[in-house]
Amino acid sequence: MSKLLDIRGLRLEAGPKGKRTTILHGLDLSLNRGEVLGLVGESGAGKSSAGLAAMGYTRGGVAITAGEILFDGIDLAQASTATLQDLHGRRIAYVAQSAAASFNPAHRLIDQFCEAPLLHGTAARAEAEADAIALYRQMQLPDPQQIGFRYPHQVSGGQLQRAMTAMAMACRPDLIIFDEPTTALDVTTQIEVLGAIRDIVERYDTAAIYITHDLAVVSQMADRITVMQHGREVETAQTRKMLEAPKADYTKSLWAVRALDRPRRDTNDTETVLSLSGVTAGYGTTKVLDGVSLDLPKGRTTAVVGESGSGKSTLAKVIAGVLPPGEGKVLWQGKPLPGPYQKRNRATLRHIQMVYQMADTALNPRHTVRETLERPVRHFLGLRGSALRARVNQLMELIELDPATFLDRRIPELSGGQKQRIGIARALAAEPEFIICDEVTSALDQLVAEGILRLLLRLQDELGLTYLFITHDLATVEAIADQVVIMQRGKIVETGAQHQIFAAPKSDYTKRLLASVPQMDAGWLDGVRQRLAS
């Protein structure tokens, strides 16, 4: 039997002539009918470009410079626009990473569903609508009769992602490209979406390329996995084989579950540096935080875990003084802390610092590293001249970046991990006692994120820092937290020492959250779905 998709020696290049960079260096990929191939790699590995190229599509500035893309015998690399338009949506469909951004906000879901069948003439409007409702039902969307008649902004992210998969199914394509479809979702939502996607792909025997950076996710979805790095294939194997015995060193490094060896530390043997009692806060009439009480032990890491909308970032804003609380008290070293930061004195401001999720936008792109760091040192410590320079050099050494190489670079000339290190150095510049880390590793690749976490732990040991670590990633929590706070809908569901929460969660929500974290085990999804169903 011939392959459904056979990509040979595919080479993609980007950029203007003379300054071309190669995105794919001669990729080979093949797919049988009904087979699901997982495409795994870190950002910049070329996996998304490869997935789009499998549709004969490239983004602006990217060109196919060599190789062929045989889809059922048709070379998509050479195909005319008309041929591609005929295949797209009808025989090859696409499911994008962010469904919220990929549904047109101006049209109802069902109109967007019906567009491809009507355009390709595979169904009349009434049939297409009936089919949409049937697929919505199969994707386990609530109220399948009516949900299609809503606009995208009226539907939640997880539901949109399922509606998008239903839309891709509209013409019953032979191949669907899933481009990180669950990356933007919360873990508990992710399970539902993963399950629905897998059911429907199996039901219609659709072949799929499943692109992700998350190994645990891909091992649930794929029959076969290809690992990519720097635009090249590293290795390909059947999923079980790949999980049990990865061959390449790079694959092994990806497979190595985060192992930060760290002694267990108690949280009740130190004084409390910051405490909140009955804090309520919100925007306008909506309450985002509802009666939150919390003690942060000195020199320890408290992780605040929750899904989007749980109020964890709002908690950070209240502590930082960006959003004054409506009710309740915040005590800093036993003394009341004024709500708005404008009313806090300089010493307090100095001792509470923040590191942000997106180092890209949190650092001024027009500044050099030196300017970024000198400013808080001058402002908070009043250092000038050689003392200032010495302190900045010292900060760079703390974050393990060579001052001579990096100090005079501008922010855009740094990599994502380096930017986040500068973000940490900027917080350290004030010589704080307490740092709020808001999702500091969630925009980073796994290996880079691990480096940042190691750095944060080392700094804590050396400087006795207290961290409030906000995250939705339970693996990160397990790696670095001493105390864990679980939040849901603005309330604290459970607080406890890290080993207690992970070993013996008390609340149902915590149990569900922990069970939802994908495991590197091909049978995990089936197991957890059965457990959640019963």
Binding site: L84, G89, A96, F103, A106, L119
Partner: protein, 318 residues
């Protein structure tokens, strides 16, 4: 009240307040000018006694704020006083001129708006093509030349050289509709050339801006042809800026045509305003000013409301 109605009624209220503020400003502006109506009518040689008597007769001896309220109340009922130059009621004077101005504005708008939006869509569809570049160069050329210059060029070529259209656009009640269209073709064409560039370039920019959105890529990957992507997927999301620039240009067509009217001696409001300013005919200046302000504010409020309605997030609450 539903949030959408609240938003719209607040825009309407804001428009009304702005109009009121403008009317007050205009009144104050005219108050600040030396001399008053009585002085104007009786001339420099009038004795103080006759002036005072005449002022009392006209009600000019009342304090300014009372006179403002009187004028406002009368204006609200359509009575803008009497023109000093012609001794006719300002409202009567305005009505024929207003019809002419609206006729010219609609004439230009009916052609300019669809053409500009179509050109904008096409130049976004064929971005960086020869078509796109020539349309852009042409539009920029037209907008860079002052409007009287465009007008004279048109007169020179289409009227004097070719003899196709009359140089002067004189129309009156007796002209038939077809005749009026023919006679006012040149001023209309001048206005079209002046306003097209702005609307066309904004349409193009708004569409191109939206084309970068992920849902556009999604539409293309569903096999939707490019023109359909532009019209069905990009345009509905680019409406707000387009509506705003169209409203601004419509306002210009009514309010800003003074120069073009003068060039073609077209009997519109602009001409009337110029004449009234020259002869210090304050009641007319005030009435025309108020009408211009009202037009501007109405069109802008309308644009605001239409932009709000074009946003599905505001039209359909969660």
């Amino acid at each position: 009240m539903p949030p959408l109605m609240k938003l719209i009624s607040s825009r309407l209220a804001l428009g009304a307040v702005t109009l009121l503020a403008v009317s007050a400003l205009m009144f104050v502006g005219i108050e600040l000018l030396p001399g008053d109506l009585a002085q104007q009518i009786l001339g420099q040689s009038a004795t103080p006694e006759t002036l005072a008597a005449f002022r009392a007769e006209l009600g000019l001896d009342q304090p300014a704020h009372l006179r403002y309220l009187d004028w406002l109340a009368a204006a609200a009922q359509g009575d803008f006083g009497t023109s000093m130059a012609s001794q006719r009621a300002v409202a009567d004077l305005l009505s024929t001129r207003l019809t002419n101005t609206m006729f010219l504005a609609c004439y230009a708008a009916v052609i300019a708006v669809p053409v500009a939006i179509l050109l904008g869509l096409l130049s976004a569809l064929w971005r960086n093509s020869l078509f796109d570049r020539s349309v852009n160069v042409g539009a920029l050329g037209a907008i860079s030349m002052p409007e009287f210059f465009v007008a004279y060029l048109l007169v020179l070529f289409l009227s004097i050289r070719m003899g196709w259209f009359p140089t002067l656009a004189r129309i009156d009640e007796a002209s038939s509709f077809g005749d009026a269209l023919y006679r006012s073709f040149l001023p209309a064409l001048t206005l079209i050339l002046v306003v097209i560039a702005h609307m066309m370039r904004m349409t193009r920019a708004a569409i191109i801006n939206v084309l970068a959105a992920p849902y556009i890529e999604m539409a293309r990957l569903k096999g939707v042809p490019r023109w359909r992507v532009i019209v069905l997927h990009a345009l509905p999301n680019a409406l707000a800026p387009i509506i705003n620039v169209v409203a601004l240009n419509l306002a210009y067509l009514i309010v800003g045509v003074v120069v073009v009217e003068v060039v073609f001696s077209y009997p519109g409001l602009g001409q009337l305003l110029v004449d009234a300013v020259a002869s210090r005919d304050f009641p007319v200046v005030q009435a025309v000013g108020l009408f211009f302000a009202g037009t501007y504010i109405t069109l802008n409020v309308l644009a605001d409301i239409l932009s709000i309605l074009s946003n599905p997030r505001l039209r359909h609450a969660r």
